[in-house]
Each structure stands twice: as structure tokens, then as C-alpha cells.
């Protein structure tokens, strides 16, 4: 199987695994595991008061998702730059050899 086909199959597998969560647990809220951990801490240790607050919090879920999207975009941008750059070099090598 070519690399491309293999990666296509693997991508589908990833999407299936993620989507499976909605099938198995269709009623769930899908909150973050850390907000559940906050509840658990207050259950086992009801007197515990967090002694430090985040210095800055995104003011709304929209701003938060902006920052997360930005983080993913920066990462994905560099990954695509790198692969594209390397593909270009590889192509350049091949055509240089053909000309010689």
C-alpha cells in the first residue's frame, strides 16, 4: 500500500475512534477532564481552597477558542511549511538530475 493510501486509511480510523465517543455516550456533556477533577477534589477534600488563581483568564469561551485555534494554526502552519519545503527540495533534486 502506498504511503498516501495508508495515511488515508489511518485518518479514517482516527475519525471513527473519535466519532465513536458520540455513539457510545450520546447523552454526555463532554466537559474537560480537569473540570471533573475540580469536583473530585472538592469531594475528597471539601475544605481545600485553591491558593492561587490564574493570572489571566480568557474573558469568554469565544476568546478561549480563538487562542486554542491560534495555537493549532501556528503548529499546523509550520508542519505544512516543513513538508512542503522538503517536497520542493526533493522535486528540485530529481529535476536537477534529469537535466544532467
Amino acid at each position: 500500500m502506498s504511503n498516501f493510501k495508508l495515511n488515508l486509511v489511518l485518518t479514517l480510523l482516527v475519525i471513527l475512534i473519535v466519532a465513536l465517543a458520540f455513539v457510545i455516550n450520546s447523552e454526555a456533556e463532554f466537559l474537560g477532564a480537569d473540570s471533573q477533577a475540580e469536583e473530585a477534589v472538592s469531594e475528597v477534600n471539601p475544605n481545600y481552597e485553591p491558593w492561587f488563581e490564574p493570572l489571566w483568564e480568557p474573558p469568554s469561551p469565544e476568546v478561549e477558542s480563538l487562542l486554542f485555534a491560534l495555537q493549532a494554526a501556528i503548529g499546523a502552519g509550520f508542519i505544512c511549511f516543513y513538508i512542503g519545503y522538503k517536497m520542493g527540495i526533493k522535486k528540485g533534486d530529481i529535476s536537477a538530475k534529469l537535466q544532467v
Partner: protein
């Protein structure tokens, strides 16, 4: 704390001062190792700088994507596995620290006081488990993709088992003590993480294959074990 804080690192202020300090101190020798390791790789092999940045970018993407899990909550992959296999586990400490700091300061995700504990679980123990499993499978003659997949998936799981241990040590239950708390926190973090660890394993194999076909020279210059 807002109800819309998603994620899985230990939240700001949720470790008492003595445990926060303990994990910071525990992290320091590994951080020293990591900085030296990173400086060494760059010096010995300047061509790998872009590849190190690539590994950092991969970590950025994976830790920004919160995936739903079969338990009905959400969590994200760590992205540490790829770099641990390419550069060895110590280099990932520096990259993990940068990602965790970014998320703690800008996203109120994790925290400054809990940074030491989060670095230990995600950027020290996770990558070491990944690397160990990878080497072990390699020695047993398993194909490389199997080592990458298992190493990454188990490294991701180990991270969250350690997070559960860290929380349970700091917050032992009145009835049942450490063990009862550990079971509770493990239920929240580690089980949610199982399908996400599998996803991360698959993605890491895919990216590894991409690098093998398009960045062969750099990959060969790493002398992968």
C-alpha cells in the same frame, strides 16, 4: 474558575504549596538534562534545528485539539511521543515546558503553581515511558511502526496515571486515603485518555511515515535507535 475550562493538566492552585514545590524541585534535574541535551543535538547536528521545530509544532497542534472520549468527557493528546522517539526523551522536557507555559499563561489551562507537576507527568515521565517501550519493542524485533504506536500510546497513558497519582498524593481521601483518591482521579483522567492515546499513536505513526518519505536525510542523520 470558569466552567468552560477544558483540559487535563492539574489546575492552577489545586496542589498545596508543599506539593507544588516538591514537583518543581523534582523537575529541575530533568530540565537541566533537557537543556543540555537540546544544546548538544543542535551543536552536533545543526540540520536538525528545523526538525526540532517540527516536533514542537506537532506538540502545539495536538495539545490544542481537545477530543471527546468514550467516557463522555474530553481531553487532549500530549504530542510528546514523536519527539521522544526522534530525539530521545530529555529534549521533550524543554518543548513540553514551553507548551505548558503557553497554556498556563494565555489559556488558564494548567497553571504556574502546578507547572512543576505538569512538566513531570507530561514532559518527563511520558516521554521516558514512550522511549522505553519503543526500545523494548525494537529489541524484541517488532516492526518500527508498532514500537512508535505502542510507545506513544503508553507514554500518553502514563502521563495521566501520574497526574492521578499527583492529585491523590496531595488530596488523600478521608476514608480510604491515597488509594481511594487515586482510583477516583484515575477514573477521571486515565480512562478518558485511552481512546485519545490510541488516536495519538496512529497520528504519530502517520507523521513519522511522512518524515521518512520527505525528510529522509535528516531522519537518517539522527541515527534512530
Amino acid at each position: 474558575m470558569g466552567i468552560y475550562i477544558f483540559g487535563m493538566h492539574i489546575m492552577e492552585g489545586f496542589l498545596p504549596i508543599k506539593w507544588a514545590g516538591f514537583w518543581y524541585i523534582a523537575m529541575l534535574p530533568f530540565l537541566y538534562m533537557g537543556v543540555r541535551g537540546l544544546a548538544g543535538s543542535v551543536k552536533n547536528n545543526p540540520r536538525t534545528i528545523l526538525l526540532i521545530a517540527f516536533v514542537g509544532a506537532f506538540t502545539f497542534v495536538l495539545s490544542a485539539l481537545k477530543l471527546p472520549s468514550v467516557t463522555g468527557s474530553s481531553s487532549h493528546a500530549t504530542g510528546m511521543g514523536l519527539g521522544a522517539i526522534l530525539f530521545g526523551p530529555s529534549v521533550m522536557i524543554v518543548i513540553g515546558l514551553i507548551v505548558l507555559l503557553f497554556q498556563a499563561v494565555l489559556l488558564a489551562h494548567g497553571g504556574i503553581t502546578t507547572l512543576g507537576a505538569n512538566v513531570m507527568s507530561m514532559a518527563v515521565i511520558g516521554p521516558f515511558v514512550t522511549y522505553g517501550v519503543y526500545l523494548l519493542l525494537k529489541k524484541m524485533g517488532a516492526p518500527r511502526w508498532a514500537g512508535i504506536f505502542m510507545g506513544t500510546a503508553l507514554g500518553g497513558l502514563a502521563t495521566y496515571l501520574v497526574t492521578a497519582i499527583q492529585l491523590a498524593l496531595a488530596h488523600p481521601s478521608d476514608i480510604g486515603g491515597f488509594y481511594a483518591s487515586w482510583v477516583k482521579f484515575t477514573g477521571i483522567f486515565a480512562i478518558t485518555q485511552v481512546p485519545i492515546a490510541v488516536v495519538e499513536g496512529i497520528l504519530t505513526v502517520m507523521v513519522f511515515n511522512l518524515l521518512m518519505s520527505y525528510s529522509k536525510q535528516e531522519m537518517e542523520s539522527l541515527n534512530l535507535s
